[in-house]
């Protein structure tokens, strides 16, 4: 029985020590709620080391859809939010969850589709007309369906077509309810059309039969904004460090860092912070 007690004691000690091991020696960090497009394209990997070198602040990115990022911010689970859905961001600030919205950078959305192009939309510069043709041809369309910035943008483009995609859901309109990457995987698998931000598309490797079919429409503009989570609502917010990051990314150095990020010689994000 002594052996048993010993074993139990050892197990308890190991478990407790593993639990209480300091996770990070460096506690100078902030949590940024952001989107999958910025993380998965490699943008953060490119620019964050520069910020860290300057300030010593570690930036921890939680990459989710814009809708979820804002919700997590509302709950105080993050210090900064960097997303792309202007109306939702402005509501976030108006409701007192964020301090102030500043524009950081933009890129654009593109419509991708199979090479066979059953809806005959390739080469078009009119996203609304293209969506209309897809609906008329009942060609498969993969939607994010997850309340993300891209999903909101997609729904905005369906609006002027007068087509009720909800009623077509499950038929030619496939709502995947997942991130951009998984949705593109699905679209590649079923030769469907999909709306994606250009950054995710350029860094996406499993394209299958997909290629860009519609681009260059002014309405496909994709603006990213940054906000500090309101410390008045959530006192745990690291306001000083969070603001330092916002000041950096919307300042000359951060904007240049964003500009210098390329994949295959192509610039993915275009800085446009005010006053830089």
């Amino acid at each position: 029985m002594i052996q048993f007690r010993k074993a139990l004691a050892i197990a308890a000690v190991i478990a407790l020590s593993a639990l209480s091991t300091p996770v990070e020696a460096n506690d100078k960090y902030i949590v940024v709620q952001s989107t999958t497009s910025t993380e998965q394209s490699g943008l953060f990997k490119h620019i964050l080391p520069m910020f860290k070198a300057k300030t010593g602040i570690d930036v921890r990115i939680v990459a989710v859809g814009t809708g979820q990022a804002l919700k997590n911010g509302e709950r105080g689970d993050g210090d900064v939010v960097l997303v792309h859905a202007k109306a939702a961001e402005e509501k976030f600030v108006a409701d007192g969850f964020g301090v102030k919205r500043t524009e950081v950078m933009y890129n654009d959305f593109v419509l991708v589709g199979p090479e066979s192009d059953p809806a005959k939309v390739a080469g078009s510069k009119d996203i609304v007309a293209a969506l209309k043709s897809i609906a008329e041809a009942k060609a498969p369309f993969a939607s994010r369906g997850d309340d993300s910035g891209t999903h909101k943008a997609e729904l905005d483009h369906w609006k002027p077509t007068g087509i009720d995609v909800k009623s077509a859901s499950g038929e030619w309109y496939r709502s995947t309810g997942s991130g951009m990457g998984p949705t593109l995987n699905t679209a590649a698998g079923m030769s469907a059309y999909a709306l994606t931000d250009r950054a995710t598309w350029l860094s996406f490797k499993n394209r299958g039969p997909l290629k860009i079919v519609v681009e260059g429409d002014k309405r496909l503009f994709n603006q990213y904004g940054i906000m500090l989570v309101n410390p008045a609502k959530h006192p745990t917010v690291k306001a000083t460090e969070g603001q330092a990051f916002i000041d950096w990314i919307t300042g000359v150095e951060g904007q240049n860092a964003i500009r210098s990020f390329q994949i295959g010689g192509e610039q993915l994000f275009f800085p446009n912070a005010p006053g830089v």
Binding site: F4, A18, L19, R75, G181, F204, K205, R207, T236
Partner: protein
């Protein structure tokens, strides 16, 4: 691009290249899961032993619930733990969200019912066998449970391994409470999910292959430890 041979060689080259990031992800995966399993054992095994030993009203219902909880959906557990640990939740002040500790808590909740249910099953048989002996020795209930656990330890290691298998393979809970933050909370399964999202299916599969290999290694280690212990015990 995704034939098995090329994935195998990709996995091999990843391991051989000594990629620092890969190793830290593997270490974190093992640290999180092994700690969760250890906690699961500390709670689950005595619970299983108690259920195997005591007779009390509602015992059948308790066992049924425990068995059902073996199938707790990881994403639901993750969400519940997230709501608890969120800054707006009851334990928000601890600041545990998006840390490995949060992941350990979520996985411990997932594996404890599984370990308890399997422990109860294996100890119930043993209890029938030993019941007369226990009676003749007039053991106190707590001593009975301890004796039962000690005698059934080899069978219990299978329960622990089942818990390990469930936790190391799970992605739904850790991605919610950990946030899949690079260098902080990224583990094997969330890294695989990320590479799948990026469309890098070959890399995702190669990581999967490494994960399966690690699981086999852990199982083999426990089995051989058991065998050695038995040999020493009966030598």
């Amino acid at each position: 691009m995704t034939d098995l041979g090329s994935i195998f060689s990709l996995a091999l080259s990843l391991v051989i290249s000594g990629d620092q990031q890969l190793y830290s992800i593997i270490v974190l995966s093992l640290r999180v899961t092994l700690t969760a399993v250890l906690l699961g054992c500390l709670v689950g095994i005595p619970l299983g032993a108690a259920l195997a030993t005591y007779r009390f009203p509602g015992r059948g219902a308790a066992i049924a619930v425990l068995n059902a909880f073996m199938g707790l959906p990881p994403v639901v557990v993750g969400l519940a733990v997230y709501l608890m640990l969120s800054r707006s939740g009851p334990f928000g002040v601890l600041g545990l969200l998006y840390t490995p500790t949060a992941m350990i808590i979520a996985q411990a909740i997932l594996v404890t019912p599984l370990i308890a249910a399997l422990s109860r099953q294996s100890l119930a048989d043993l209890h029938t066998e030993y019941d007369d002996l226990f009676r003749s020795l007039r053991l106190r209930p707590s001593d009975k449970i301890r004796a039962l656990i000690w005698e059934g330890r080899y069978g219990l290691s299978t329960a622990a391994l089942a818990g390990f298998g469930r936790a190391i393979a799970e992605v739904g809970a850790v991605i919610i409470v950990g946030g899949n933050i690079e260098h902080v909370t990224r583990v094997m399964t969330t890294a695989i999910a990320l590479e799948t999202s990026k469309g890098d299916l070959a890399l995702a599969l190669a990581l999967g292959l490494i994960l399966v290999t690690i699981a086999i290694a852990v199982n083999a280690a426990v089995l051989s430890l058991n065998r050695t212990a038995r040999r020493l015990a009966y030598a």
